[in-house]
Structures are given as structure tokens and as C-alpha cells.
């Protein structure tokens, strides 16, 4: 490098070490942006052994839980509770494992997906990297979608990794492939829905800590809060002489719409759709 006086006439040459990219269609630009963000996020998340160690530990815990459930149900049948039919016992074990794994995975997805996305945008702000990103032609939609999908890919990986374990239920019977499929669709919908909620909190709240707290509060409201309200409504409700449910404490019907957003209610609906049902009285309540 040589010293050049500021006012000197410098031959201006085209600088280019790269060819300027052609302008892409808006859709392709957004897709390119999503791919860029996704590649960056996944590169960081999947680097080294950490991600695979977590998957291994997760599957070990899930497998151990399934084994305990199977042992407990088998034990109860061997003690004579629940009938003497071996086929019925096997189906009950299958359904028990299915219910236990599905609810556990729903719990995991309901908290992991939103808490992972809760820092996606706010961390960029805190680390002061958001300006660098926003100053590029990448669209806001691409940033949001890229962040959401890259986070969800990891959650989906955990869900997919549990599939072989879930296949144990077919050995015992009582659960059809369509039940498993429905259960996993609910898991995916839960991940997308609550993950989007976490991302929303992350984009409107500046601090990650606050965004995560609001997100967790929201998830608790959707899961435990809605069940509590529904249970409260049911407890306060009255029945007429024919046994039909009447209006609740506020003089209106139970707000069933609350149940629609609760992933555990959705999974309970899936479980009630299995061949022999988990107790018809409980399922009729769902």
C-alpha cells in the first residue's frame, strides 16, 4: 500500500471482484433470503456434536419413559386389574405408550418451539447485528420466515427422531398408523403455531429475557389457562332435568373456542380416536 494524497487525481477503475447479481423476482428474492437466514442459523445450531448429543439424550429419556409406561401397564395387567385378555392387555399397553409419548412430545414442542424463537429477532437487536441485516436487500418476510423455519427445523428433527421410538406401539397394537399420523400433524401444527407466537414476541419486545418471559406466559395461558377456564366453566355449569348442560356462570355457553388453541386438547382428541378409546366417559368430555 502506498500513501496517496487525498487531493491527487487517482485513476478510477472498476472495482469489481464480483459480478453484480441480477435482480430476482420478489418471490425468488424472499426464497433466497429465507435460504440465507436458514443456512446461517442451521450452521450455528448444528455445528459440532452438541445438536447430536442433545438428540441422543432426548431419545434416551423418551425411550426410558416409554419403557416405564409399558412396564407399569404390563404390571397392572399381570396383577389382574384391567381384564385377563392378553390381546386387550397388549392393545392397552400400545395405547398407553402412544398416549404417554405423544403428550410428552407435545409438552416438549409446546415449550421448546416458542422459547427457541423468542430470541430470534431480539437477540439480533441485542447483539447489534440487526442493522447489518436490515441494510441488505433481504426482505422482512424473508428474515421472519428464515428465523422461524430454521428454528423449527431443529424441532422437527427432534420430532422425526422420535418416530422410530413411536413405532413400538405397532408391536403392541391398539394404535393405527393414521392415529400416529394425526398425532404428529398436531405436533407440527403446535410447533408452527407456538413458534410463530414466540417470534412475534421477539419482534415486538426489545429484550430477549422479556420476550421469553412473555412467550412462556402465553404458552402457559394457552395450555394450562384454557383448561382451567374450561374446567371452571364445567364445574359451575348446571344440568336441566334431562341431564343436558345449561349455560355457565356468565349465562353463556362454555367458550369451546378456548379448547381449539390448546395442543393438549387436540392430542387428547387424537388419543380418543384410537381403536378402543381411553375410557369413553373421558373422551366424551373432550
Amino acid at each position: 500500500m502506498t500513501d496517496t494524497p487525498a487531493d491527487a487525481q487517482i485513476p478510477v477503475t472498476p472495482a469489481v471482484s464480483v459480478r453484480r447479481p441480477p435482480r430476482a423476482l420478489p418471490f425468488l428474492r424472499t426464497a433466497g433470503g429465507v435460504a440465507a437466514i436458514g443456512a446461517k442459523e442451521l450452521r450455528g445450531r448444528m455445528r459440532g456434536r452438541r445438536a447430536f448429543v442433545i438428540v441422543t439424550i432426548y431419545l434416551s429419556l423418551l425411550g426410558g419413559f416409554a419403557w416405564m409406561v409399558a412396564t407399569l401397564i404390563a404390571q397392572s395387567y399381570s396383577n389382574g386389574f384391567g381384564g385377563s385378555s392378553a390381546a386387550f392387555a397388549s392393545a392397552a399397553i400400545g395405547q398407553g405408550i402412544f398416549a404417554a409419548l405423544l403428550m410428552l412430545e407435545t409438552l416438549q414442542v409446546a415449550f421448546l418451539a416458542p422459547s427457541s424463537t423468542a430470541g430470534a429477532i431480539s437477540l439480533e437487536r441485542e447483539k447489534q447485528t440487526l442493522d447489518l441485516l436490515v441494510a441488505t436487500p433481504i426482505t422482512s418476510l424473508a428474515i421472519v420466515l428464515g428465523k422461524l423455519l430454521s428454528t423449527l427445523v431443529y424441532v422437527f428433527l427432534l420430532i422425526a427422531a422420535s418416530l422410530p421410538l413411536m413405532a413400538i406401539v405397532f408391536v403392541y397394537g391398539g394404535v393405527g398408523p393414521e392415529d400416529v399420523l394425526r398425532g404428529y400433524l398436531v405436533l407440527i401444527a403446535t410447533a408452527i403455531g407456538l413458534g410463530s407466537f414466540g417470534l412475534f414476541c421477539s419482534s415486538i419486545v426489545r429484550r430477549t429475557t422479556a420476550a421469553t418471559a412473555i412467550t412462556i406466559f402465553g404458552v402457559l395461558t394457552v395450555t394450562i389457562g384454557t383448561i382451567f377456564v374450561l374446567a371452571f366453566w364445567a364445574a359451575m355449569g348446571t344440568f336441566d332435568n334431562n341431564g343436558n348442560r345449561q349455560a355457565g356462570p356468565l349465562g353463556i355457553r362454555s367458550p369451546e373456542v378456548l379448547a381449539y388453541v390448546n395442543p393438549f386438547v387436540a392430542q387428547a382428541d387424537v388419543l380418543c380416536g384410537t381403536d378402543t378409546n381411553l375410557g369413553s366417559a373421558w373422551c366424551s368430555g373432550v
Binding site: 477503475t13 464480483v18 447479481p21 428474492r29 447489518l132 441488505t136
Partner: protein
């Protein structure tokens, strides 16, 4: 030739505070243009408006003939922005960092690999290609951030305080790098507090204070236009009464407004004249037999200009 960066009546208000109050800038292609001003003068706000990160409350800003508010996507393709405070992604390697931003600009995979190598060579980080970004020194991170602003080969570079927090060696390296970029045809708009470096580097400057451009143009032109004085420092091989007599000799010159003996024995002159007048003063002093060891300006031209036009009690001045 039409300017590559132009602002007209640019205004930015934040909750009743006027951060930028009608700024007019005109920067020709190939210039290194310095924005000089005290903290809170509005430099960063101007740069962020030009970088499409802020919307102006009023006025217009254009880069390469495109409005930064009307056509921000296209503007982002022709400019590279380096903010004053920026973070790095902890979990990325140096090449991955540049690769990510190149993807954001839609640069194809085939071009990215070569471009990353070229840029790392340019900013002297080729040997750090596989290092994690967070392990780099502050100066290296500054250079990497500058490289990120170059991945799409922009026409205009907006650099907000790029030398802040750097040690002297890193500053020299950065200055050389910016000169090299000018040779490569870039137009550079740079804000800084380190005035002597800007003076050496910039082809033109704008002195900004309280959201207004107080003076704009080449440093020599502004100096001529404003006709402000200078502070001269003279060291003599004299002491005591002889030194006081020498001070009186200087004070008798019509261009000397004041003459003071400092604690270290240097005589400081408040001087009204231009370069020719200071040469005449030196010649007559030597001819009068004063044993002068050194005779120099107390501060750089730009520093003097800056202090002159941004003085708290300055007269209202017509923006150049």
C-alpha cells in the same frame, strides 16, 4: 456531473428533538467525503437515513439518483453500510460471515467463493478465513465488517466512525484500506472524530453541528472562505526576560492578535494572517535575530476549522 449522493432539506425529528435540521449534501462519485461534528451533531442519523434504516421526517435523499425512501431495495444494492456500533455472530467463521451476507445479496454460489477470497485478501484477513469471528481483535472485526459491506461491490460506502476503538496501528491500516477502496472507484462517506486522519484522507468534508451543515467542500476552500485565524507555536532558544522581549516582538506584528508564553517556554500566537503572512512573520523574526527552534501550527487545519465553526458561541453561519 450529477452527484452520486445528494440530500436536500433533510430533516429528522425524534419525539420533538430535531436531530437533523435541513441538511443539504452533494457528493461526487469517487470522493472520500468526511462528516465532521461533535457527539450528537446528527452524523449518525444522516448516515442511517442514507442507509435506508431511518425515514426522514422531511426532505429528500438520493443515492445514484434513486430515492432512499421511494426505492430502498435498489438503494441497498448500490451501497454498503458499516454502522458505528455493530455486533458479530458468535458462532460463525470468518468465511461463513461473508458467505451469509453474500447470500443476502443474492450472489450465486460460484461467485461467492472467489469473492470471499478476494475480499479477505483486500482487508488482510486471508489467514483468518477459518477463525471464528468472535476470536478476532477489534481492528480485525472492523475490517471484516468493512468487507461485509463490500460483498456486493457497492458504488457507495457509508462508514460511521469506522476508526473508533481502534489502536493507532489499526487506524493506519484502515486508512490505507480506504485509500485503496477509493482507487477501486468507490465513493466513501465517512464520519469520524479523528480529525487529522480525516483531513489526510478526505477529498471533501462537511462540518455538522446541531443537525446542520455549517461548512462543506474541500478543507482548503472552506478555510479560504471562512478566513479564520490560526494558532502558531514558536519555540526559541531564549529564557526569562529575553523570551518576554521576543514575545513582545511577535505581538507587535499587525497579524498577531495575541502572544502568550506557555509553561514549557513556547510562545503561542493567535494569528490572523494566511500562510504567506506566517511565512513573512517567520522570515522577519529570523532576520531580527530571534533564535527560533521551531515554528508551527498548533493544530491541523481541519481541527482549527472544526473548533472555529462549532464553537458554542459561534455566530450563525450560512451553510456552504
Amino acid at each position: 456531473m450529477s452527484p452520486i449522493v445528494r440530500t436536500e432539506g433533510l430533516v429528522k425529528r425524534y419525539d420533538g428533538t430535531l436531530a437533523v435540521a435541513g441538511v443539504d449534501l452533494s457528493i461526487e462519485a469517487g470522493e472520500i467525503f468526511g462528516l465532521v461534528g461533535p457527539n450528537g451533531a446528527g452524523k449518525t442519523t444522516i448516515l442511517r437515513i442514507l442507509a435506508t434504516l431511518l425515514s426522514p421526517s422531511a426532505g429528500e435523499a438520493e443515492i445514484s439518483g434513486m430515492s432512499v425512501t421511494g426505492n430502498p431495495d435498489e438503494v441497498r444494492r448500490v451501497l454498503g453500510f458499516m454502522p458505528d456500533v455493530f455486533g458479530v455472530y458468535d458462532d460463525m467463521k470468518v468465511w461463513e460471515y461473508l458467505d451469509f451476507f453474500a447470500r443476502c445479496y443474492g450472489i450465486a454460489a460460484a461467485g461467492r467463493r472467489r469473492m470471499i477470497g478476494d475480499l479477505l485478501e483486500l482487508v488482510d484477513l486471508a489467514d483468518k478465513r477459518d477463525s471464528y469471528v468472535h476470536t478476532l481483535s477489534r481492528g480485525m472485526q472492523q475490517r471484516l465488517c468493512l468487507a461485509h459491506a463490500l460483498v456486493h461491490d457497492p458504488q457507495v460506502l457509508l462508514l460511521d466512525e469506522p476508526a473508533s476503538g481502534l489502536d493507532p496501528r489499526a487506524r493506519v491500516e484502515l486508512r490505507e484500506l480506504l485509500r485503496e477502496l477509493r482507487v477501486l472507484g468507490k465513493t466513501i462517506l465517512i464520519s469520524s472524530h479523528i480529525l487529522p486522519e480525516l483531513e489526510e484522507l478526505c477529498t471533501s468534508v462537511a462540518i455538522v453541528d446541531r443537525g446542520q451543515v455549517l461548512a462543506q467542500g474541500r478543507v482548503a476552500d472552506i478555510e479560504r472562505r471562512l478566513r479564520f485565524g490560526a494558532v502558531l507555536r514558536v519555540r526559541l532558544l531564549l529564557e526569562g526576560e529575553q523570551l518576554a522581549a521576543a514575545r513582545d516582538t511577535f505581538a507587535s506584528d499587525p497579524d498577531v492578535a495575541s502572544a502568550v508564553i506557555l509553561d514549557d517556554g513556547t510562545v503561542e500566537l493567535g494569528f490572523r494572517g494566511d500562510d504567506a503572512a506566517s511565512a513573512r512573520l517567520l522570515a522577519t523574526s529570523v532576520a531580527a535575530g530571534l533564535p527560533i527552534v521551531s515554528f508551527s501550527r498548533a493544530a491541523s487545519d481541519l481541527e482549527e476549522l472544526f473548533l472555529q465553526v462549532t464553537a458554542p458561541d459561534r455566530e450563525p453561519m450560512e451553510a456552504a
